[in-house]
Symmetry: D2
Subunit: 253 residues, 4 copies
C-alpha cells in the first residue's frame, strides 16, 4: 500500500513512457527506471491527443500491462484519467493523474477524488496559480487531500520550446500549500535536450519530485518521441538529481 | 426543427442568462430577448465554476425550464454540456455548447457529437486557432458537421479586461473554415460596459452571430453579474448590430 | 499648419509606405493615397529593424523626400523618430511617431514632446494599457498634449498572425482618455489579407483613425512587403471605412 | 582593467542597489557585498521609471559615487545607460547595462557598443529569444563581442509575481551562444521572498552569474523596495549559490 506521506518526506521520481505500447515495452522500461532510481512507474493507457487521428492508447488493456509491470519490479504506478468511465479500469493503479487539459474539468476531478486514491493534478497550461489552487479545492471537497501538484509549463509568446517552464510556480506553490510539488520538464520543454537542465532547475528551487518521460527507444515511440529520455540519459539524470537534492536540502530547512 | 444551414445564411443572436435561476427568471428573459430580436435562447443548467463553493446550476430541472421557456416564446435553446452524463437530460435542447474549459475534452466532445445535434464549440482561452480546428475534427469524426465556432477571449498579459478578445480569430476562422463563426463579447470582456463595443467590432469583422449574456436584474444574478446586459441594453445592442450588419454585409461578398 | 483638434473631430487615415525608398516611389504613393481619401502621408526615413543587416531607411534624405511629397499633394506628413538626434532633421514634419519598441524610451519621448509637435505614440507590443498611459504622462509633462494613441497588436501565445490585435484596447483608451485613438492593422496582422477586416473592426469599436501601410508595388517593397496594401486595395478600404464610419458614428454619441 | 574572459571562466555575482542614493549608501553597500562575495558592484545613476514622477536617479553625480565606491572596495562597477548622452559620463564604468525596455533600442545599443566596454544586455520582457539574439548582432556589428546576456523575466498571463522567470532561456542561450549568461531574479520576481529560490534555479540550470539587488535598508529604498535583499539575506544567498555552483559544475562539463 502506497504511503502518501512519503511524498512529502522523500524525493520521488515518476518515470516511464508517454504511452504504454505493449507488454515488452512497459516491462523493459519498468525494470530500467526502477534500477536507475525511479520510485513510481508511469505510463499512459487512455490518451488525450490534439490530433484526432493519433494513437489513443491501449485503454483498459494498457492499464493492466502497467499494473503488472509495476508489480513485477516493485514500483507503484501512475496513469492518467481522461474521462469518468476510465475509473472503473483503474482500481489497481496507485496514483491517478489529471492532465493539463483537464485542470478545470471539475466533474472529472470530483469523481477521481472520490476514489480516495492519490491524485497528481497537473497545472493547466493556460491557467493561473490562483485557478490551480481553486481546482485543488474540488479534490479536498470530497474529503481527499492526497494531492500532488505538478508544474508542466505554460503558454507564452516565447516559441523556442513547446511551453515556458514556470519555475517560480514551484516556489509559490511550496509557499502557499503543504502539498508535494512536482515538476514535469518533459512536457514543459517538449525536447529531450533540455529535460536535464530543467530538472536541475526544478530540484534547486525546491520541488519534491519529478515526472519524466522515458522510453527504451524514443525514436520509435508512438507518441511524444521528441521529449522522452532514453534509458541511459535517465540514469545519468537521476544520479545528478540525487546529488543536487542533497546539496539543496539544507537550504530549505 | 432547427435548421443548421440558417446559421450560415442569417445573422443569429443567442441571448440569455449565465445561469437559469427559476421559472419566472428564464421566462421573463426569454420573452424580452425574443422581443428584441434574439434568435436563440441560452441559459446554463450545468455550470462549471472555478470556485468550488459557487452556485452550480439547477441541473436537469434547469434544462427543463429552459426548454419550456424556449417553446413558450418560440425560440430554439442552447445550453452547455459539462460532462457526458448531462447529455441524457438534454434531448430537447437544440444546440449543445462545449465551453472554453472543455475545448480539449475530447471524450466529452465525441459523445456530444454523437447526439447529431448542433454543437457550439467555444475556443479554449489558452488554445491556439490551430488546436481549435483540431478539436473540430473530433466532431466531424462522428459524422456531425453541424458546428458553430465561437471566439470568447484569450489569456494574455493585459489585465484591463478579464480576457483579450482576439477579434482577428473571427477573420481567420472565416477564412479557414465554412462553419458559422460567432463571438461572445460577454465572456471576452467580463464587463458589461464593453459588451456593446466588442459586439460591434465582431460584426464588422464579419462574424455570423453573437452570444450575449442578458439578465432581467444583472445586479442580482447568481453568476457573472458584472457582464450581463439588462433587457434595455440588449434591445439597443440588437438594433445597432442589425444596422451595422446591413452595412457590412456588402463588404464580404 | 496642421490642426490637432481636427483629429478629435474627424476621422483620419494615415497612409504610406513602411520605408521611403526614392522620390518617385513616395510621390506616386502620395498622389494615390491622397486621391483615395488619406488625410496624412506616412513614410519611414529612420528605421528600427530587428535584423541588423536590413535596410535602415534613407535617413535625413528620406525625411526631405517625404516632406516634399506631402507638400506636392497637400497632405501633412508623419514619420517615426528612432533617436534624439533624428529630431534635428524633422522640423518640417507634422506628426512625429514614437514606435512600439520605444513606448518606454522616456528620454526619446521627452525630447520629442519638447518639439511641440503632434506625437503619435504607439502602444508597446509587450506593454499593458496602464503602462501605455504612464508613457503618455511623459509627453504631458513637457506641456504637450497633442497626443494620438495607436493600438498595433500585442504579443500572445497565438501565432496565426504576427501579433494579436487588441481591439478592446481601443474601447478602453476611448473610455479613459480624451485623446484620439487610432489603430494600425498593418502591423497588428503583418498580413495584407487581414488588413481590411481588422480595419473595419477598429472602426466599428469607435477608433478615430487608422494608420495603414500602402505601397505602389508591395511585392518589391524594401521592408514589410507582406503587409502593405497596394493602391487599389487601399482605395477600396477607404471607401468601406467611410461607409462604416457613417453607420457607427450614431452609436457613440 | 577588467578581464571579459573571466566572465566565461568564473561565476560572477553583480550586486548593489537599484538606485544610487548618496555616498554613504553606496559605500556601505559596496563594502558589504564585496565582503559577502560579490564580484561586481551595481547601482543605477540614470533611471528609466514607468511613473513620470518617480525618482530618476542622481545622474552623472551618481555615476561618480558608484565609480568611487567601487574603487574603494576594489570592485568593478556596472551601471545602466538610458540614452546616448549618458555615455559621456560613464567612461570610468566597467560594464554598461542596456535595460529590458531598451533591448530593441538599436541606436543606443550601437553607440554603447562603440565604447568597447563590456555590455550586459538584458532580455526585453516582451521579446523572444530570437529577437534577443538579433539585438546581440548590433553589438557585434561594432566589433564588440564583450557581451553578457541576462534573463530577467517575461510578460505572461500569470500575475502571481511581477514577471515570469523564463529559466529555460538560460539553457537555450547557453546552447546557442558562447556568451556568459546571467539571471536577474530580483526583477524577475519583484519580491525579495523569491529571490533566493529563483537564484538557485538559475545556478542549477547553468547560468554564469547573477545580478541581485541589494540595499542596506530595503524598506527605505528610493526605488524597487519590495525586491532588494538586505545585507544579511545577500550574504546567505552568496554562500548557498557558491555551494550549489560547486555541485552543478560537474554536470555541465
Amino acid at each position: 500500500m502506497i504511503d502518501f506521506e512519503s511524498f512529502k518526506r522523500e524525493f520521488n521520481i515518476i518515470a516511464g513512457p508517454c504511452a504504454i505500447e505493449n507488454k515488452k515495452q512497459i516491462e523493459t522500461i519498468a525494470a530500467a527506471v526502477k534500477d536507475s532510481g525511479a520510485t513510481v512507474l508511469r505510463g499512459g493507457a487512455f490518451k488525450l491527443r490534439s490530433d484526432a487521428n493519433s494513437f489513443m492508447g491501449l485503454g483498459p488493456d494498457g492499464a493492466k500491462l502497467l499494473v503488472n509491470a509495476g508489480k513485477k519490479v516493485g514500483l507503484p504506478v501512475l496513469t492518467e484519467v481522461t474521462k469518468i468511465s476510465d475509473l472503473q479500469f483503474l482500481s489497481d493503479v496507485d496514483i491517478l493523474q489529471i492532465g493539463t487539459r483537464n485542470m478545470q474539468n471539475y466533474p472529472l476531478i470530483t469523481e477521481t477524488a472520490k476514489t480516495g486514491k492519490i491524485i497528481l493534478l497537473k497545472r493547466g497550461f493556460g491557467c493561473t496559480i490562483k485557478e490551480y489552487l481553486q481546482s485543488v479545492e474540488y479534490i479536498k471537497k470530497e474529503g481527499n487531500d492526497k494531492i500532488i501538484l505538478c508544474e508542466r509549463g505554460i503558454r507564452t509568446f516565447e516559441t523556442a520550446l513547446r511551453n515556458t517552464f514556470d519555475v517560480s510556480a514551484v516556489a509559490i506553490l511550496k509557499d502557499k500549500t503543504n502539498f508535494p510539488v512536482f515538476a514535469d520538464p518533459s512536457h514543459a520543454s517538449g525536447d529531450r535536450k533540455y529535460v536535464k537542465r530543467l530538472s536541475l532547475s526544478a530540484v534547486a528551487i525546491g520541488c519534491d519530485g519529478l515526472e519524466i518521460e522515458v522510453h527504451n527507444a524514443p525514436e520509435k515511440a508512438l507518441s511524444d518521441r521528441e521529449q522522452a529520455l532514453n534509458l541511459d540519459e535517465f540514469k545519468e539524470l537521476v544520479s545528478q538529481v540525487k546529488e543536487l537534492r542533497k546539496t539543496v536540502q539544507n537550504f530549505y530547512e
